[in-house]
Amino acid sequence: MNARQACSVLTVILLSTALVTPASGQSLPRAGTGIGVFAGLYSADGIATNSYYGARYDYGFQGGKFFVEASLGIGSLDSKVLESVTSASLFESSRLLTYEFDVAYDHTPTGPVPFVLLGVTGIDQGGQTKFAGVVGFGKRFVLSGIFDDRMIARLDIRDHLFSQEFNNKGSFTAHNLSLTLGLTLAL
């Protein structure tokens, strides 16, 4: 994905989020389970930015102020820049797979303050697996009138932090950033 395509996707995500206005008096489900899907961009540090999509399961407790989440994401490590400058490849394939466990705190589920999130993730980069920490934040909005107000839109921004090393040239802390827009159905 080139910069123009990435900007287009980003614009669509941000516009979509802006159009989703929380209805007054609508509150997020206070507890219980939710299943959802998400899509957006995943920027693999030093490699490429590509589209990213997946599914998640979450469970809210303590009145909905906390929720735990498990998610599975699929992306790509394709890089036209790297392909054009070298014939060698960093990984056996361009497959990107993430599986993530998180816990989040949403102090004001119906207010303007975003939730914060901490977790861990496994990142399968073309056959090489890394264990990474996750920090992030996001916001949830009830889509009023859809599925009895049980449909929730989400914007998530996350950083996957882990130790990366290419060609035995010393390790560095990689920051893989993701920006996703999701839909969750509260069950």
């Binding site: 735990v68 466990f101 496994g122 264990f131």
Partner: protein
Amino acid sequence: MALLLLGQSRAQEGASMPGQPVNKRAGIDLTRGVLFEVTPHTGMMGTSGVFGLRLGMNYGSLGLELAGEQVIGKTANLYPVSFNVLLNLSTQGRLIPYGVVGAGLWLTVPTNALGAETVSSLGLNFGGGARYYITRSFGVRLEAKQYMTTINNEREPQSELLFYQELSLGVSFLFR
């Protein structure tokens, strides 16, 4: 499964068995039949990160579970699959401490060594932990375990005994 969990959560929070006193203490009761448990978890084995899932059932003080994990190493990933027996040291309330012992198969899968093959070995584990239930169907689970396995040394005739320690933290979903 999510539907099952939700349904069970609602049923458990409002219901009590006819003829039996309502347990006014917020918490769970393992003495009222079989309770199934799903526990996704993460943690560390040595310096390697762990992801895993445990599927279990509890009946009073006894618990049985099947556990699968991925241990993410630098040059290889380890996949321990084990069958465990739990002894719940408490059967009522929010806090359920337990001891656990189990056995299983370990699969070591190299990730970046060309030509290397998957190695399998048998392993034992024992340890203990505790579950703390926030609601009657949801809680957190902390566990410490010692793993043991043997591997054959290609250069010497005898096998080598290896020990690993694991500390894990997960969430526990209960349903009937």
